[in-house]
Amino acid sequence: MFRAPFAFRLLAAALCLLAGVFAPIAVSAQDNTSQIRELIAAMPDASLRELEEIVSSLAATGNTDVVPVLEALGEGDLYFNEETGDVVIVTRNRMYDPVTEEEIAPVGETDLSRIRVNNGLRRDIDATIGGMTLMADDPQTRISAARTMGASPDEENIPLLDEALAAETDPAVRTAMENARAVTILGMPDATLEQKRQAVPIVSRTSGGAAIVTLRSALNEDTPEELRADIESAIAGLEQERAFWQAAQNVWFGLSLGSVLLLAAIGLAITFGVMGVINMAHGEMVMLGAYTTYVVQETIRQNSPELFDYSLAIALPLAFLVTALIGVAIERGIIRWLYGRALETLLATWGLSLILQQTVRSIFGPTNRQVGNPSWMSGSFDFYGLSITYSRMWIVVFAIVVFAALLVVLNRTSLGLQMRAVTQNRRMASAMGIRTPFVDAMTFGLGSGIAGLAGVALSQIDNVSPNLGQGYIIDSFMVVVFGGVGNLWGTLVGALTLGIANKFLEPYAGAVLGKILILVFIILFIQRRPRGLFALKGRAVDA
């Protein structure tokens, strides 16, 4: 799987090479410009039948410069000046010469008449352009021309494809052309059985639903037995492959959802697992992190737009600080008075969440705020059969980094050591000189700060509104409870399991029902294992 970058580089190198090879051919095709001019000049007075002939004559020149003219004709952008008889291309904002593509001084619209075409001619034009672009300089253009032919098979294309294939050396283009040819042959009534049987494996080389559709449509009552067997086994293979990629896609979406859940839940796992505090305002910490991102981006937009790509890097530490400070304030102000009364803490922090939501609503308004993706987070790339958006990918990476960083903090720093000590035996820790109230405040601050980081990430894929946190709080609780508290690995496994399970259920049950099923599953799961997947065992637990 990780050979992909290498394959891409290889491809790029090959493309550069080919561009060099084809350049001279393109130059040699320039000689017939005057012939083209004549043909174009004949267009205004031509009947539809004559136009058809002109189009095929233009194609016969083999010069790809005629492609824009043909395109303009097909799209109804080709006009002629009624006084001078000059043919021009008119697009929405400019008017230019069809051959030289030089701008022409605009004339009044009344002087221009459109050169009319009908649907039959339009189809001819499309096919002709397809044939022409098969010879274009740009390999990408050639590929898309071949794909267009594959999408609307026409046996007249076969000679064009054969001709193009004879000259083609670019493997990617060849593949596309061979595929288009095979698809066309499969659809042709008078192709020989042998030809068709050869076409089947070529069609099934391209994965995806299109190949299956093509193969299916080649099946009918008259299909000879050998061909039927070929096609059916090819379809079976393709479906298997499709199922695999579908599963891979689900796993990826699941990982992506899981990492979002992980980000939202991991701070909760700390406050709940280490301190036994149910922080219902945790979702609002996430929301505040997202709003911090918004404020950072707004400031950047107004003051130095060139920094926009760094906005998330600036927002991360700020969001952490803001939410961590609020967290510490909450712990010192409210939660510490309620230790040992878990349910009261739950209620008080719920009240806090209402206050925080309303505060944000009062300051920023109830509507969604626009948080943009930096350039490196927008767009997507194809990975074999998968289409992966950069934002989702970076969030998965970010979740892993946060998780790893948290493990390091807990296991390798003195604060982590103190936190673990306080968790295991508060009195003993306090007797050894650990300032337990300080550790409590720091723990809560850490949990809240991580929620803030999650908010920065979520601002990239979700609507930033005062209700942002509400959508995650129940899911986060499910993750923590499912994974088992007091165990970060449990949270990781819980988040990913729930994420993937959710995405696998969705195609069968629909998004909402899938979610309901997950909730019901967790409710039942807790009955079986009241302390979650990775619960600690021991006498204390039985209490």
């Binding site: 600690l536 065992k537 021991g538 006498r539 039985d542």
Partner: protein, 249 residues
């Protein structure tokens, strides 16, 4: 099993471990009907875990636990075991603090425990007399309407012993009954337990040696989840291992 026949409590080869730590290691103990057994031993010897196993709070990894010669306790839960006639007094006195002394005893009184029989329960003359008797016995008659939370530590101990009596169990498990009691109260408690043990089986866990001496009964010393020594208090406290591991010199 056959060996268990004429015993009240029969533990054979009971082991349990928590996360690798062996709390009980092949522990075997027998208590006969109408017999008192005092258990001593250092912290972590497994005394509380043993009680947890007898009362169904913890399941043993291995071993047999029989009550009254035939009932396998490892198959039952706490409520079922309590209803068989096993009463437990906890190390830390655990009474229902927001309820009155009287209510505490009323709940402990041996009566049907079902939902509807408790919903429609009305105390009759006999029940009231029984509770008054117990209040006399545990010297709380004057405080019957006070909240249990307002009792002193020693009084809570007495209340819990009273609740044990109200349950009318065949076997009493008593964990550190005299902590927080004055010397006079300690002597009283020992007398009370001796009295009880004439008709029922009693297992007492205690650190207070003078109290154990007052009990004047068979003693078992536990250490590291297994029996270290058995016999009279004199015999056990003369045992060199016991001196080394528990009593110290």
């Amino acid at each position: 099993m056959s060996k268990a026949l004429d015993t009240m409590l029969y533990l054979n080869g009971v082991s349990v471990s928590f996360d690798g730590f062996k709390a009980l290691n092949s522990l075997s103990i027998i208590v006969k009907p109408a017999e008192m057994l005092a258990i001593i031993g250092p912290n972590g010897a497994g005394k509380t875990t043993m009680m947890d196993i007898i009362t169904g709070k913890t399941r043993p990894d291995a071993g047999e636990v029989y009550f009254n010669g035939r009932t396998d306790l490892t198959k039952l839960d706490e409520a079922a075991i309590a209803n068989l006639g096993i009463g437990r007094k906890f190390q830390k006195p655990t009474v229902f603090e927001s309820q009155s002394v009287w209510d505490n005893l009323e709940m402990a009184l041996k009566k049907p425990r079902g939902i509807f029989s408790t919903l429609f329960y009305a105390s009759d003359r006999e029940d009231k007399d029984r509770i008054l008797d117990i209040l006399e016995t545990v010297r709380l008659a004057g405080r019957k309407d006070d909240l249990a939370a307002n009792l002193s530590h020693g009084q809570k101990q007495w209340l819990e012993i009273g609740m044990l009596l109200a349950q009318d169990p065949k076997l009493l498990l008593v964990d550190e009954p005299v902590a927080g009691m004055t010397d006079a109260e300690t002597v009283e408690t020992a007398n009370l337990l001796r009295e009880i043990s004439k008709t029922r089986s009693v297992v007492v866990v205690e650190h207070d040696m003078s109290f154990v001496r007052d009990l004047d009964t068979r003693v078992t010393c536990l250490a590291e989840g297994t029996v270290l020594a058995e016999g009279s208090l004199e015999q056990v406290s003369a045992n060199p291992t016991v001196i080394e591991r528990y009593l110290g010199r």
